[in-house]
Symmetry: C2
């Protein structure tokens, strides 16, 4: 066994180190690379991905997994590494190389077609590419296999263990309680003072403020950076090298702050993964949903709270040379928590965001099941938006064409955003039970107790537990939307006189 384990661990580390190198290449591409460098970067990334794929699917890997599967003296950590590596190996081994390559080719063309289609508001231009992508993803799902719904095989890549049925069950309150909450808010006469956030502030001042906030939350800048990219993201190469990005808009100063709080949440998770298990699944994040729970917890549960703004509004006033002197704490809180139905998902508020996701989840599950013809998508989208969010797009650019995900072949990815919201609210409620005076800590700018709780309950476990089990262990309850809805109701009731 020791010999097999040594060979196996070396292969595992090779695969994860290559993944980390890919992340460095990707980060550079988004933040540093000159425009003409794209072709060479494509060569870099394809080669590294190919070498990693060879290792994942190698016969040596298969042999190691088989040999280690027969042993019963593995530690907990070793069992986790074996289980997750076997999962990755099985999935990769089941999908033919020809399909992987075809998807890779089609994805490039589809993404380009999507860009053109969105710019020209021309769904028909994108439709044949989407048809092809959906067909290939169905093939992939069939190769991977599934118990009840073909979509499960795709969802499993981003949220291991989740199924169409489990997500449908968790999202059910969005057809009931949450729907009623949204209706109540929309029929309220109260008007949030969102215009107070529209003021011009220098990018330099925003950058300094964002950096200070990230450091306050506990982000270690000796083990990470904060840069600019067109679409904010977080990329963890290793717990000691985590890269955040945000973007700065002179006329929308708080978007860079909330974006930074969001990415800092991701970054704190990455910095909290156990470094002794770096480059193995024991040192990796559990799922996209759990990752998103960390970003949403800091951005929303902490960052849009009264104690947070009681601390940061004075700082904001100082940082921006008195430009926020006319804004009261009540108005700031109200503006930061306004519910405003919008056509665009990434601009949506905490409540309506989930309805954007519900629509996408239902549509993509139906696409993969073959229940919705591609040509009907624009109309189905409009009807869905009208039903769920209360407004419908006049064109497809602001409708079905707004997201890049499907052109990339990302089916099963959208639900993880709302899973993150659910997990975040549930975790925060449990933390309030375990940690004395969470609000007091936040109001004092002391985030150590919150971070410690997350480190212990979430970050430090790597992939030891699946997402559902991890949340259950951290909160003593299976994942549910109940806490998210209760949190939103409690927050919105006074703001909207419900």
């Amino acid at each position: 066994m020791p010999h097999h384990w040594e060979r196996f661990e070396k292969l595992v580390k090779r695969i994860h180190t290559l993944g980390s190198v890919s992340s460095v290449l990707g980060w550079d591409q988004e933040t540093q690379m000159p425009t003409k460098g794209a072709t060479a970067r494509g060569e870099h990334s394809a080669l590294i991905a190919g070498i990693a794929h060879e290792a994942v699917t190698s016969t040596e890997m298969a042999d190691c997994i088989a040999a280690l599967g027969d042993t019963d003296d593995l530690s907990d950590a070793q069992q986790t590494i074996l289980r997750e590596t076997a999962r990755e190996h099985d999935r990769a081994a089941k999908v033919p190389q020809s399909l992987v390559e075809e998807l890779s080719r089609v994805r490039v063309l589809a993404t380009e077609a999507w860009r053109v289609a969105r710019e020209g508001d021309d769904f028909a231009h994108f439709a044949p590419h989407l048809t092809r992508i959906v067909s290939l993803k169905c093939d992939e799902a069939d190769h991977v296999g599934y118990a009840s719904h073909r979509y499960d095989a795709l969802l499993d890549e981003y949220e291991p263990g989740a199924t169409c049925a489990s997500v449908t069950a968790m999202f059910a309150p969005f057809r009931g309680e949450a729907r009623a909450l949204l209706d109540a808010v929309l029929s309220s006469a109260a008007t949030p003072p969102t215009s107070i956030l529209r003021r011009s502030l220098s990018v330099d001042a925003q950058r300094a403020f964002c950096r200070e906030a990230a450091a306050d939350l506990g982000f270690d800048f000796d083990a990470g950076r904060l840069d600019v990219s067109a679409h904010p993201f977080c990329s963890g190469f290793h717990p000691r090298d985590v890269r955040l990005t945000t973007r700065y808009d002179e006329n929308d100063p708080l978007s860079s702050l909330f974006g930074t709080l969001h990415e800092t949440g991701h970054g704190l998770y990455e910095q909290g993964l156990p470094p002794e298990h770096a480059f193995t699944p024991m040192g990796a994040a559990v799922s996209l949903g759990v990752h998103e729970s960390q970003s949403r917890l800091w951005e929303n549960l902490v960052g849009r709270s009264r104690p947070f703004w009681s601390r940061y509004l004075p700082k904001l006033r100082t940082c921006y040379g008195g430009q926020f002197d006319d804004v009261s704490l009540d108005d700031m809180l109200y503006a930061a928590n306004a519910v405003t139905p919008s056509l665009i998902r990434v601009e949506a508020d905490e409540l309506t965001y989930n309805f954007h996701i519900l629509l996408r989840f239902e549509l993509e599950a139906a696409l993969i099941a073959g229940d919705v013809p591609i040509g009907d998508l624009p109309d189905v989208w409009r009807q869905g938006m009208a039903t769920y969010v209360g407004i419908a797009p006049e064109n497809d650019a602001d409708g079905v064409l707004q997201d890049v995900h499907w052109s990339h072949g990302l089916f099963g990815y959208f639900p993880t955003y709302t899973l993150g919201n659910l997990y975040a609210a549930q975790l925060f409620a449990a933390m309030r039970r375990d940690v004395d005076d969470v609000d007091g800590h936040i109001a004092n700018g002391e985030f150590g107790a919150i971070l410690d709780w997350l480190r212990t309950r979430i970050h430090g476990h790597g992939m030891r537990y699946g997402a559902a089990e991890l949340i259950k262990r951290a909160t003593d309850e299976a994942p549910t939307a109940e806490y998210l809805i209760a949190y939103l109701r409690e927050k919105l009731t006074p703001l909207y006189d419900l």
Copy 2:
């Protein structure tokens, strides 16, 4: 053959693409990486280097080389790719993996010991590490093989084709003509007004000025960047993605400019390599000496010339808000071309620099030949400095411990700096014969004709010719120090009333 060529080319591109990925990792390490990221980066780099080494030494590579060696229908470009790849393969195959790994380990320890020794001015602390490194490099040379001098095997890695004898011959004038020139300068009563360069200028203004100058020379910022690092360098990932760095000192504004001109010279070479041969030796630079010729040509032959400053002194005045209004063109030229013996190589002027190199070349050749005991190095260094440069260090930190090269195992690297100086002067003289009114072009800020000449004569050839042949083809003459000495004499004669 076509089948063999296809397999071979795929392997070659894999190796060079991995090298390019290593460069991305290295660039990030020097310019972006947070301090705590070093350990993970070590893992990244070691893995990528290891995979590349596997490919270079693979039996598949050996088979391809053997099979292709028997064919006679290869194009010129294919022959170059085969020849250079075979050279790399042979060298790598001859050196045992155990020696490579031992050198890698010893290098890390030696570099750390060197840092401590230099800080504490304690050569004895470094001596045992240097002894070990020299011994391992001798082993390496013996494995690689050589015709007459063991040092040749090491020199060949950086300047293929050069030998101890050929370098000794090319450097001979530094014991005669150039020595006499230096003596004449040092006995001149003329005093260059170097103090005029000591003025405090903002880093932002320096950055803007450096960027403008690099773009003026022809550096394409859509295919490259200019950043900051502790030690300036240029790293070309591909002709369409070339990264330059410089450093800014508020109290020494021209050092960032000359540093930028230098790295831009390297960068123009990298951007001028044929992109259709990217990731093969046909798309790679010939040698360190030729690379250095490009940086020195732009930094010195162009950047310290009268026509250059007739153009850029007015720009300097504008950029720095009139801070250079009191400096005349004559004074600026004089200050930029002052000859001032110094203890430190990297601070040396154009003339004395070569004597620093001469000393290092002779010492390292003697070390590898076993002709100088390690313990005698500090004294031999002092004597050499007194003889060649006219001043000797009082301590070893400013003497034998000043350079990092030997602790890295870089023996045979130093001579390429002066080879670069020789080649640069010889190329510039040939260019003056081919291109009308070079000075006029420079004075007008039009560098296109100079760059075109270099593109055609040097950059576009990749590794088709060896360094000596490339210089001969470009200039109709074998490499010689004659042009460098003539250029320096012509420039220094009026400045120092010789």
